[in-house]
Symmetry: C2
Subunit: 186 residues, 2 copies
Amino acid sequence: MLYQQIHLTLPAWTHDLVDPAATYTSDEEKVALAIDLSRRNVDANSGGPFGAVVFGPDHRVIALGVNRVMPHTCSLAHAETMAYMLAQQRLQQFRLNELGGPVTLATSAQPCCQCYGATMWAGIDRLLIGARAEDVMALTAFDEGPLPADWVGELNKRGIEVVRDVQRDAACAVLKTYGELGGPNY
Amino acid sequence: MLYQQIHLTLPAWTHDLVDPAATYTSDEEKVALAIDLSRRNVDANSGGPFGAVVFGPDHRVIALGVNRVMPHTCSLAHAETMAYMLAQQRLQQFRLNELGGPVTLATSAQPCCQCYGATMWAGIDRLLIGARAEDVMALTAFDEGPLPADWVGELNKRGIEVVRDVQRDAACAVLKTYGELGGPNY
């Protein structure tokens, strides 16, 4: 029989990690939470070394995401895509900012080619990035995939502001640990 | 409370549509099935005008996909990504061709930027495309998003063969109908 249903979850350790009423006002605080998720995901062996968080205009968390590729045998289950899907389910909007923004994604590392494309359609206004793609590829065995030459400009054209190198060193520290452990590149 | 789970489904009309033992030997037959899904998805009002199918080395269907963005308020739920996720669940492999290929994706229209990226990681060997991105954008209000300049070459580099314009007219006919109906571009 062909399969009809997909069921993806966040690991149990995320369930009470964040107070939905807490505010993360600065860009640094937002990315620090994404990096914290990336580190905890490695420590718990619940997926790859990536974390992402969707924040609303009030600087509160709308949804968390971590890499779940191996636990769910699902190449779509990256940190950013999990965060987008969970945020869209919670708000019941397939464009997160349709009822007003700005909506922000903070991610521990630059989105790969898949999450880059997903970012075009998710309905965010700001993209905050920790580690660069070249950091990911230098410190781990992950391939980040091909992007348009002016990938930042293409996001800007669609109204998405990009801020890079936020907490870059802290993000790289998690990737370095993972790379030294020889973790799988999925 | 933050959300922890994502649940995505194919519409009920897909459940007994295909005999899992049937073979679709030629490229034309494979894309014709994807186009049939795109048409039925419009007729049933169960999502956007896109269909995709993952085929195994024996030319049998591994998984179907149709656009489910609006029914599931999920911008990730494109035809290609649904087909990849369902195929990966069924085979319990996050790289579909890890146990041997070739694995083929047939899609009614050129993958958008999100599905292009997803195609890099899904583990396919062949990508068969009906309508071109310019057809989609000429016949409907959909944006296909930015791709690397040499998007075919980037797939080839990763061992993925690309065949375009397979059943292009039939694929365009569905898009034309949808565009004339003024369907939403999600």
